[in-house]
Amino acid sequence: MPKKPLLFTHQLEYLSILDENGNVDQTLEPELPEDFLLKLYRYMLFGRRFDERMLNLQRQGRIGTFPPLTGQEASQLGAAAALKPSDWMAPAFREGLAEIWRGKSMENTILYYAGYDEGGAVEEDRNDLPLAIPVSSQTLHAVGIAMAMKYRQTPDVAMTFFGDGATSEGDFHEALNFAGVFQAPVIFVCQNNQWAISTPLSKQTRSETIAQKAIGYGFPGVQVDGNDILAVYSASAQAIERARSGEGPTLIECLTYRMGLHTTADDPTKYRNNEDVKVWESRDPIRRFQTYLLNKGVLAEEKTQQYEEEIKAEIQGGVERSEKLMNELGAPEDMFAHQYAELSPHLLRQREEMLEQWRLDQKEEKNG
């Protein structure tokens, strides 16, 4: 048995259902109820408009640093929409739309980016971890949750999101390896938006795809057109189905593009040219889904306009409510509220001290 090729049973596929012009491959088209399709569309639109508004609020100094998601609506919503409410989600920091789909309030989103810890609150019935900034670290939590689900024999799954850059971190590796070994019901969704701040995918890894990274862990990887919500949804539903039936994890690579800034602190003109952005504009996930729905007769032209107006009002309401909340909040002792189940005597004294210093500061500032 000398020099001989090793055989692989792994299969890697690329999935695309809706092309850039909204033409559908009917052999692959998923059968989804019309109201669900419309709901997806409306959320995508909402995502885009909310993003624009947040950018706006940031530019006006009403919120702090914010990571826009424009261009990635299909990729994150397609995956999250395939989950049940009892499933869990562990997002990175660019899944604002997926979070809102899952029940996060606009108010919390805005509060969080306006610098209020209260915005981190996770709504009662939402089984999601708060967004995670330390890149890739959340992938392990999803695995732990999935292992716990398996132990508890619930029929639920965990889904975690991360970027292309995140695949370079050790935690990504440990997460996939644990998931493989323990056959945990977890779905790894990579939003491969081609960039990690200024670092293009080609400098991130020499791997031709992210999907093939699954091979090292003994479970399937699949690459999908991440701007095609039908493809993302289908691949996710299939992976969730596998996980639910005890067949273990899947890695899904969504090929998409970060159309905007990395965050509002970023200046992409330093590192990428507008040509690429233009190319990806033509692949817009919302436009092609709209075309599909129009062609299919599910969506009427005037409905789009109606959605736009409703969404505008909703967002306006959200912004107003959050700004009202900000005025009501603000007592600094809340900082100490969720440090431990119970504050130690030492921390209780520190809270007193902090409040006293704060009050004295306020007084002095008033008196100049």
Partner: protein, 326 residues
Amino acid sequence: MAKLTMVQALNLALRQEMEKDDRVMLLGEDVGVDGGVFRVTDGLIDIFGAERVIDTPLAESGIVGAAIGMAVYGLRPVCEIQFSGFTYFNFHQLESHAARLRHRSQGKYHVPMVLRAPYGGGVRALEHHSESREVYYAHTPGLKMVIPSGPRNSRALMVSAIRDPDPVIFFEPKALYRAFREEVPEEEETLPLGVPVKVREGGDVTLVAYGAMIPLSLDAAEVLKAKHGIEVEVFDLLTLSPLDDTLITESVRKTGHAVVVHEAHRSFGPGAEIMARLMEEAFFYLEAPVKRVTGYDIVYPLFAREKAYMPNAMRIVRAVRETLAS
């Protein structure tokens, strides 16, 4: 009551908690079939199965990250990191998540996990196997940092740590794993986290220590009394963070003298915080500067020279006498 080593006492704590509460899970490298490299989890896989006593791949961040997920989901994972010197591989998971999820989710989630790790020197171990870096954890808000000093309190503290709703870093002084036995009751016993205990009464000087330094401190106290007529009051911190200095401050107000003992490096070490607290709370009662008997600010040496590095009873005796003389 059985006379148990610390290893056996910890095993008892884990077994009983697992029997009582099916949320309690063990995970780590070699904790299952092998029973842990120090045998703390010995036999538990036979009782509770591989679903609850989980041999993991060799990945500390994986272990802690997965444990965080389990804890958030409602389980009570107890994970073992094989030696405290390898907890740096998972430091980001502790700092960024275990310590913060309660705050970050505004109380929706919490992380009732325990991270166990053998720590400390004096056992002729390999490189990276003798460090005492409890300060890293004690300085990290959101964590609790617990260190027992004997079979009985290790059992009681472990039970409390498992039941605690917040993440507990539980460092086990490996030098004491089998150093002596104590009566450990079969019935449940707990000790509150965050409360030091007075382990010896005395009026002349206050000695503050924890972990493997406790037996040494008690030895030193004996010598000081027998040879020099000095009455030493000894405190065992048990919890480094949250640190409650009330009893210690009170004692120093009485004795006017104090010595702090730890294996950890001196600079920016645990002793500095004790001294700072005493400065803040007992300054006007202090008759002499508080002294520290500690490890030095160097990489822990290989074992041939560890005796010169580690505090011992003789060094403690000298320090106490110097404090009283100054």
